[in-house]
């Protein structure tokens, strides 16, 4: 693991999310009566230490983006706490009054998935990267321009380009612009929602390296949202796996990949195609479909697809237990199963 000693208060919890829930009502008919609820996020608990990268990984519809939006309070959670450390005080982002929220938002910024639609085509780089500064009333025009120059250098773009428009840049360069914008206010927490999945393979590595690099230099904390497990393995210190609105397992990266404790993690790891034709494995192919968050199965959400499920899994929701230091899992059979992981190769 990378040393984070350079970061002040490293290891201190920066973000602490407890029992987070977000339900979306399903409305039908003329009177728009609520006929059901989509439980997009259903009792999610996790923490992120200062200066580290926590990845939230899961398949589409598992609630990872909704969790991120709740953390930023882009949407208001139904229940639960989102505690963010602001100086020495823990503030609940979920309930903080609007006036305070504005100041808190300087601490949390976002990097988006699609570098094409997340940049306004009618704004120059200077306007795009400088906008957060303008919104938060930072400095005068000259100071803002200086800051933009500094930011562009930081992300590996030439400052001469700052009067150009986004269309003149490739996907990878645009993603750098998005990163520069997120860094403008020197936030403590960056939420990166699938920042490399829209990029070409040869460019993906550049952006992943940039994120690791920036984190080491600036000591920022990253909540990294992704579906690609190989990308997750490269960038994160800890990983949390989500399935249908719940975190089923979270652990330090090595431990989660080498010794998964939840059957869903095992299946997910085994489903990743390995870039080696000699390794055409007998993989675990999950049967059936991801459960519908509007109509979740009773007990463990994963039991209809789980090959280890017993009667208790069908009836009781498993609680989160700490099976090893920092290794949390929500499975009734976590201690008795021995599951197949992915070894870290030495080459």
């Amino acid at each position: 693991m990378t040393p984070v000693a350079a970061v002040p208060n490293a290891g201190q919890v920066l973000l602490d999310v407890r029992g987070l829930k977000k339900y979306f009502p399903i409305r039908r008919g003329l009177l728009q009566q609520t006929v059901g609820q989509v439980k997009a996020v259903d009792d999610v608990t996790f923490f992120v230490n200062r200066g580290e990268t926590l990845s939230l990984v899961g398949e589409s519809g598992c609630g990872k983006t909704t969790t991120a939006r709740c953390v930023l309070r882009a949407i208001t959670p139904t229940a639960g706490e989102v505690l963010l450390r602001d100086n020495d005080e823990l503030v609940d982002v979920a309930t903080v009054p609007k006036e305070r929220l504005r100041a808190l938002r300087r601490q949390m910024q976002m990097i988006f998935q699609d570098p094409f639609s997340s940049l306004n085509p009618r704004m120059t780089l200077l306007d795009i990267v400088g906008e957060p500064l303008l919104v938060h009333g930072e400095g005068n025009a000259q100071e803002r321009t200086d800051r933009v120059v500094e930011l562009l250098r930081l992300v590996g773009l030439r400052p001469e380009y700052m009067r150009r428009y986004p269309h003149a840049f490739s996907g990878g360069q645009r993603q750098r612009i998005g990163i520069a914008r997120a860094l403008a206010l020197s936030p403590r927490l960056i939420v990166a929602d699938e920042p490399v999945s829209a990029l070409d393979v040869s460019v993906q590595a550049q952006i992943m390296n940039l994120l690791i690099d920036l984190q080491e230099r600036l000591g920022i904390t990253i909540l990294f949202i992704a579906h690609d497990l190989s990308v997750v393995k490269h960038v994160s210190e800890r990983v949390a796996v989500m399935y249908v609105g719940r975190i089923v397992e979270s652990a330090p990266t090595e431990a989660l990949f080498a010794t998964p404790k939840h059957p869903y993690t095992e299946a997910l790891l085994s489903a990743v195609p390995k870039p080696d034709p000699r390794y055409r494995s007998e993989r675990i192919v999950l049967q059936g479909e991801v459960a519908d968050p509007a109509n979740t199965p009773p007990g463990c959400h994963f039991h209809p697809r789980c090959r280890y499920a017993t009667s208790v899994c069908r009836e009781k929701t498993p609680a989160q237990q700490e099976i090893a230091p920092n290794h949390f899992v929500r499975c009734h059979r976590a201690t008795e199963l021995s599951l197949r992981g992915v070894p870290t190769s030495l080459s």
Partner: protein
């Protein structure tokens, strides 16, 4: 997964009109087994736009052998999809095939050069969907939202086979069953938006297979899917290929999918084939600097966490701004000034059954 293949015998009942026109083909050879099912030679497809002409496919040659899976890999703009569109003669204007030949060997042994056919002619329409099945990336947009899945399968079956509507529907149900869709009798009357992503892609494969093609072209078939669904679809494609002896041309940017599925691999960059060979050669002994760099730069699930990846410098050039000489030279580690930027290397043999286009291999 239980699979049946009741459709593979239906080939004989194909539309008689589609079988009538036969050209002897430019290369009639006796050895039938290793004779390529599809042979692409020096294909060039250009897009004539106001801003300039883009050579999307620039002299591409490869063979698809019967019953084998050919993987075509490359990043965006390398021309892999345009190659597939050229084979199917569905290149959208202002694009046009400028040169080359695409020779398809049909079930009766006759050979047809697809480039010489009228793009909307009767024979091409019989081949497209008949001899060659198609699976696209986006299962959501490939289906019409205002027709049921069944109506779209029945349409494909009726178009290529002289059968009754009732028989076509029966075949549609069997096709859905063969791709592992539960309750096909009920599902056939649903609309595509009622199906999940994985089921929709299965339905797409069912449409492609409903006329028992000998070649299936799959253009990024799993890119829009989650990993566990992707694993299901890849497994399905592999089973179908084995059971039906069907050839697959798999187009993807995902090297993991290629390693998993393909027997032979073609690596493309900016409209050119830079390397081709068996899947094992490409992954374990790559020759072209681009292939090498690409393989090094992909994140692996087996790597150590928080380790920086080797990268390829720069980004893919804009198609209007193609480098001179070898298209990869501005990003290449083995760049030789005065050579790589002035002349284009030809695709030359670099070993048993493999080729690369690089001056490192004279």
């Amino acid at each position: 997964m239980k699979l049946r293949a009741p459709l593979s015998r239906s080939r004989e009942s194909g539309n008689p009109a589609s079988l009538r026109q036969e050209s002897p083909g430019p290369r009639s050879r006796g050895d039938d087994d290793r004779r390529p099912l599809l042979s692409v030679r020096d294909l060039r497809t250009s897009f004539f736009q106001d801003e300039g002409t883009t050579l999307a496919v620039d002299g591409v040659s490869f063979d698809v052998l019967p019953g084998r899976a050919l993987g075509i890999v490359g990043e965006s703009g390398c021309g892999k999809s345009v190659t597939a569109h050229s084979i199917l003669r569905i290149v959208q204007p202002p694009g046009r095939i400028v040169a080359g030949e695409i020779v398809l060997t049909r079930a009766d042994g006759s050979q047809v050069d697809l480039v010489k056919l009228k793009p909307n002619g009767r024979l091409v329409r019989a081949i497209r969907g008949g001899d060659i099945g198609l699976v696209f990336q986006e299962p959501m947009t490939s289906f019409s939202p205002v027709h049921t899945v069944g109506a779209q399968i029945v349409e494909a079956v009726l178009l290529h086979n002289a059968v009754s509507r009732k028989e076509a529907r029966h075949r549609g149900i069997e096709a859905l069953r063969s791709v592992g869709i539960p309750n096909p009798e009920r599902r056939i009357d649903e609309y595509s938006f009622e199906l999940s992503g994985g089921l929709r892609q299965r339905a797409m494969i069912a449409v492609a297979l409903s006329c028992a093609p000998r070649l299936l072209i799959a253009d990024e078939p799993t890119t829009a899917l989650d990993v566990t669904t992707q694993a299901q679809i890849l497994e399905l494609l592999r089973t179908l290929q084995r059971e039906r002896g069907m050839a697959i041309m798999l187009i993807t940017h995902n090297l993991g999918v290629v390693a998993e599925m393909a027997d032979d691999v073609v690596v493309m960059y900016l409209g050119k084939v830079v390397e081709q060979g068996s899947v094992d050669d490409i992954f374990h002994d790559p020759k072209h600097p681009y292939t090498k760099a690409l393989l090094r730069s992909i994140p692996s699930i087996e790597s150590k966490p928080r380790v920086k990846l080797p990268t390829i410098a720069g980004s893919i050039p804009h198609p209007f701004n193609r480098p001179t000489g070898c298209p990869f030279h501005p990003r290449c580690e083995s760049f030789q000034p005065g050579r790589c930027d002035t002349a284009e290397p030809a695709l030359t043999p670099v070993g048993e059954g493999r080729k690369a286009s690089c001056f490192l291999y004279p």
